[in-house]
C-alpha cells in the first residue's frame, strides 16, 4: 500500500468535490435536467448572496435565520432548564424517578413532528408552536443524560457526603451535578441537533417567518434556488451550533483535567 499523506487526501478531496460540483453543473447547464429544477451551483450561490440583502417571504435570509435561531434558543433553553434539573432530581429522589419514568417513557417515543397539529391548535402560527416542537425534540436527551450522569456519581463520594449529613440540595448541586457534567454536555449536543431538526420541520408547517417558512414559500413559487439557499443556511447554522457546543465540551473537559 502506498504511503498516504495529507497532501494526497487534500488532492483527492478536491477532485471529489470538484467532480461533484462539475457533474451537478453539467446536468444543469446542459439542460439534461431543466435548470428550473436543478439550478447550477453558481446560481444557487448567487441566489444565496442575493437573499442576504433582499427580502423574500417577508424578510432577508438573515432575518429568517435570526427568527429561527430565536425560536431555537427558546425551545432549547426551555428543554435544558427543565430537563437537566429534573434529570438530576430523578437521579437523587427514587420516588420522583419511579413517578416520572413511566410518564416520560410513554411520551418520548412520540416523534416531535407528530406534535405539530396540537402545536397549531394551541398556538396558531405564533412563536409558541415551533418552540413547543423544538422542546419536544430537545427535551429527552437533556433529561436522560442528566439522569444517567447523576447515576454515575461515585458511590463512595455519596456515602461520605451522606455520613457527614449533607442536605439533599447540596448533594445535588455539589456532588451529582459536577459528576454529571460530561454526560450532560454530551446530551446537550444531541439535544441541540434534534432541536434544530425539529425546528425546520415545525417551520415547514406552522410558522409565518423563519428559514423553514422561507423554503416553503420558495417551493410554492417554484424557486429551486431559494429552497437550496435555505438548505445551505440551515446546514450552516446547524453546523455552527454543533461546533460551538463541541468547543464548550472540550473546554469543560480540559478544565477538569479529562482528556478529550
Amino acid at each position: 500500500m502506498r504511503i498516504f499523506n495529507t497532501q494526497n487526501v487534500i488532492v483527492l478531496g478536491l477532485i471529489g468535490f470538484g467532480g461533484f460540483l462539475g457533474f451537478w453543473t453539467l446536468l444543469s447547464v446542459s439542460g439534461l435536467i431543466p435548470s428550473l429544477f436543478l439550478p447550477s451551483p453558481a446560481s444557487v450561490i448567487e441566489r444565496f448572496v442575493f437573499l442576504l440583502s433582499h427580502r423574500f417571504a417577508g424578510g432577508t435570509l438573515i432575518d429568517h435565520l435570526w427568527a429561527s435561531m430565536l425560536r431555537f434558543g427558546g425551545g432549547f433553553g426551555l428543554a435544558v432548564l427543565i430537563g437537566v434539573p429534573l434529570g438530576l432530581l430523578m437521579g437523587w429522589f427514587r420516588l420522583l424517578d419511579d413517578i416520572v419514568t413511566p410518564l416520560f417513557d410513554a411520551v418520548r417515543f412520540i416523534a416531535p413532528i407528530a406534535w405539530v397539529p396540537f402545536a397549531a391548535l394551541w398556538f396558531g402560527t405564533g412563536i409558541g408552536g415551533p418552540i413547543m416542537i423544538i422542546f419536544a425534540g430537545a427535551f429527552p436527551p437533556c433529561l436522560i443524560n442528566a439522569y444517567r450522569g447523576a447515576k454515575f456519581a461515585d458511590p463512595r463520594l455519596i456515602e461520605a457526603a451522606q455520613m457527614l449529613g449533607t442536605p439533599d440540595r447540596r448533594m445535588i448541586t455539589e456532588i451529582l451535578l459536577p459528576s454529571a457534567v460530561p454526560s450532560i454536555i454530551a446530551g446537550l449536543r444531541i439535544s441541540a441537533g434534534l432541536g434544530w431538526q425539529s425546528l425546520v420541520g415545525a417551520e415547514l408547517i406552522v410558522a409565518s417567518t423563519g428559514i423553514g417558512y422561507m423554503m416553503v414559500q420558495g417551493q410554492g413559487n417554484v424557486s429551486t434556488t431559494t429552497v437550496m439557499a435555505g438548505m445551505i443556511g440551515i446546514g450552516f447554522i446547524g453546523m455552527v451550533i454543533d461546533i460551538a457546543l463541541r468547543r464548550v465540551e472540550e473546554a469543560i473537559l480540559r478544565r477538569r483535567g479529562l482528556s478529550v
Partner: protein, 259 residues
Amino acid sequence: MSRKAAVGSATIVAALALWFFATTMTQMISPGRFPSPADTWVAFKQITGVGYANGVLIDHVVRSVVLVTLGFLVAICTGVPLGLLMGWSRKAEALINPVFLVIRPIPPLAWIPLAILWLGLGDMAKILVIWFAAFVPSVINAYTGVRNLDKPLIEAAQMLGTPFSTFVREILLPGASPMIFTGLRLSLQASWTTLVAAELVGAMTGLGRVLNAAQQDLFPGMILVGMIVVTLCGWVMTAALGVIERRALSWNTATRAGD
C-alpha cells in the same frame, strides 16, 4: 409487584384519571384544545369504521409503513455499501468525504421542499426524502464499523491470502455489522419522522395526512389518535428491526448481553 412497578402503574392510572377529570368531569381543558377519552374513542371508531382523510386506519398505516420500508431499503442498499467502501479504502474516503461533509449537516426534514419541487406530492417524493434522511446514519455507522475492525484479524486474513469476496463476507461484514445495525436503527427512526413530516406537508393518504386533516378540521380527538398510531408504528418497526438484529447477530454475545 416491586415498589417501582407499583408506583409506576399508580402514576399511569393517576395520569389517566387526571385526563378524564380535567376534560370530561370539569372541562378545565376545553374540548377544542385537547380531546377527552370519549372524544378520542369516537375518533378511533370513526377512522376504523367509515374512515377519515381518504381511507380507514389500516389503509393509512399500510401506506406509511410501505413507503418507509421502501425508502429505508433504498437508503441502506446505497448507504451501507458506501460506508463500507469509505471505511475500507482511504482513497475512496478522501474522494467522497468532502461532499459528504457538506451534505451531512442538512437536516433530513430540510429536503422536503426540494423533494416536493422535484417530484410533487406523490410517493416518489416521499421515498426520495426518506432516502436522504436514512442515508447519512447508514453511511456513518458502516464506516465506523469498518474502522473499528480488529486490525490483527485483517492482517492475518491478508497474510493468508484470503480472496477479497471471502474477506468481505467473512470478516468485513460480520465485524462491522453491530455498528451497521446501530446505524440502521437511527436510520429507521429518521425515516419514520421524515415520512410523517413529509405527509404532513402534503399527501393524499398516510398517517401524516390524517394528522394534517385533523389539524385543519380542528378535530383534537383525531389528532390524538393519529399521534398514538404514529408512535405505535414507529415503536413496532424499531422492535422488528431489533428482532432481525438479534437473529442476524446471534453469534455476538455483546448484543445479547445488551438486551
